[in-house]
């Protein structure tokens, strides 16, 4: 029931920008619900969300013009990976419910999660 870490897993360090060795969080942004307020871009821990006109630093420093800051998207590395750790701070803070999480974060090889399933669940009242 609980996944095993093989010897090969233990020896191998995953390449962080390779999607076959790292599973990054998959955010889905509903463009029709987004009001372009920029809250998610401002609070993303890893500055993984950007818009066409704003970044986390530009919003924190106030160098972006007031008003609509554009629909956010995941800022991709050169390899095309997103770097999202699926913390879902963005989705919690979004006042319009425009963000949902379609996949969780799980590094590969020596860092892979052992006692968790891929399914995401909200707190359950037992």
């Amino acid at each position: 029931m609980i996944a095993q870490l093989t010897l090969l897993d233990r020896l191998r360090v995953p390449t962080y920008d390779d999607g076959s060795q790292m599973r990054y969080g998959a955010l889905v942004i509903d463009r029709s619900r987004c009001r372009e307020c920029g809250i998610c871009v401002r609070i993303c821990p890893g500055a993984c969300l950007v818009t066409d006109t704003a970044t986390k630093m530009s919003l924190l420093n106030g160098t972006t013009h007031k008003g609509k800051s554009g629909v956010p998207r995941l800022d991709l590395m050169k390899s095309g990976e997103a770097g999202c750790i699926a913390c879902f701070d963005c989705g919690t803070a979004c006042p319009h419910g425009a963000i949902s999480l379609a996949g969780h974060f799980n590094p590969g090889y020596r860092f892979k999660r052992i006692a968790q399933e891929d399914v995401l669940a909200y707190p359950q009242r037992y």
């Binding site: 029931m1 401002r42 500055a47 630093m57 050169k78 913390c87 701070d89 919690t92 399933e117 037992y126």
Partner: protein, 251 residues
Amino acid sequence: MNLHANESSPTGTYAEGMPWNPVERVILERRSIRSFRPEPLPDGMIRRILEAGRFAPSAGNMQPWRFVVIKSPEIIAAMERDAVRIARLFMFFLDYARGGRVRRAITMPLAKLFIRLLPNELHAPPFMLLSQIAQGRAPVFHNAPVIVLILEDRRGVSCPAVDIGVCGQNMVLAAHSMGAGSCWIGLIKLLRYYPKWRRRLGARYPYHMNESIAFGWPRPTADGLVPREVQIVEWREGGPDDPPRYERQGG
């Protein structure tokens, strides 16, 4: 969407499926807050948060912590500058995700060697955050108005780092219960590489600078429920030789 539990159960009771009680609500709805209003929390409130830390459990009642409250914007700005500087230095040698092929061929083996040597510090999330910080895309201390440093007394009983975590979580929960926001900042470790910061912040033997927490008024309010991975829990209820029962916790 700020998902919040609506009703509350009284504390000190349990009935199956009952709504969350106020303590559980603070625990479950707490999110790490990384965007603050510029004005600091009132001193009284900081003292009240520190009280929650002072009364945390610790192994052998050794209380292996020492608190440093940093409210000075100049000091926090200087810490930020120096932390970014050291992140840049590290990432100049280790960040293989940017630059060309030659750079990648040189930095990747070096990075993987360092990841083996410092697997916790250079795990994927901190590695990528360091890369973002080095590129000027993310701050270290989130422009927080108050940073509380929890220095670990290495002479504590058993595992003093655990006591630091328990103490800090007490403070974080107390802060959120009063409407403040907080974020653990382990990257304070970057300042360990500067003798001047070790001296200024008192991080010398027996004290170890591992963790700090940023406090402030959240802007925007971002507390709320989130989904997390279903956890496989092993239950052992029969005799010592009986196989365990595995249960999916949370879903």
